[in-house]
Point group: C2
Chain length 136, copies 2
DNA sequence: TCGGCAATTGACTTTTACGTAAATGCCATG
DNA sequence: CATGGCATTTACGTAAAAGTCAATTGCCGA
């Protein structure tokens, strides 16, 4: 049972569909292709994006929100891919993954600290409002 | 007891001390001053950074690691400051803080997802190593 | 007073991540 | 078959966030 046709999972997405879904421009998607982050197939000159491309775009957007550069995102995407066959490569990959995770853990610490400080700032505002006799 | 002099809390830091501590250039600190993020006092033309400036720089670096732009960092720093006196301003401030917190919560979700995927990627590598009969 | 080093200033350059415009292709529809 | 509507390619533009470089300038100890 191959489940091809008009099922839940689309075969292909057009570039405009994806620009709408992710709220980015066609220029940006073409840029990501130039950068080697995605490789949509072609029908003639027209790009056809598969679900795997769509998933990659999702990961790219996530990386962007976290403040990673295109190069860093490229590295992270590499890590998601199938592990290499050679032992040295595998060990290197594990090392890189561990580094990136340490990076993310630092970001998490930064994030929690910032959230805490914003908590305090908001509370100070609320208290100030209370002092002014404002019924929230 | 004013605790001035060679105590634990320094009165002033020089620009080079801070460039070493935070691993940034003097150009960068001057840039932040131009941008109004810090206001070191002057002795003659020389900048003297107080502990409060140092703390601000710490916050700036945190914001940078989280991928915030200079403008966003400026906004966040504003939020840490003393709350305004006027009710309308206070309510606006609270709204802005809540928005920024939502932003940070999104980042946290992105972060956890990315960490999870890197976990899986690393595990796949480790398994592959095991398959190859490598004793970790 | 002089040498030297640290700090400042200002101008110019660089990198990243796209935006924008112009010219053209492809194709369905009336 | 002309028209509209996306798509594509190529080329140049740009804003943010510094980096780099050169020319002072201030200050401190000998």
């Amino acid at each position: 049972m191959s489940r091809s046709g008009s099922g839940v999972v689309r075969e292909y997405y057009t570039i405009t569909e994806l620009t709408r879904e992710f709220d980015i421009s066609t220029r940006t998607l073409r840029f990501y292709e130039d950068e080697g982050l995605i490789q949509p197939v072609r029908r003639g000159r027209t790009r056809l994006f598969r679900p795997s491309d769509r998933h990659l775009i999702r990961q790219i957007m996530r990386g962007k929100r976290l403040g990673f550069s295109i190069n860093e995102i490229r590295e992270i995407i590499q890590m998601y891919k199938d592990p290499p066959g050679e032992v040295g490569q595998l060990k290197l990959m594990i090392k890189r993954i561990e580094e990136k995770r340490e990076d993310l853990r630092q970001k998490r610490r930064d994030l929690e600290e910032t959230l805490t400080e914003l908590d305090n700032a908001e509370e100070a505002c609320v208290e100030r409002l209370a002092e002014l006799g404002v019924n929230t």
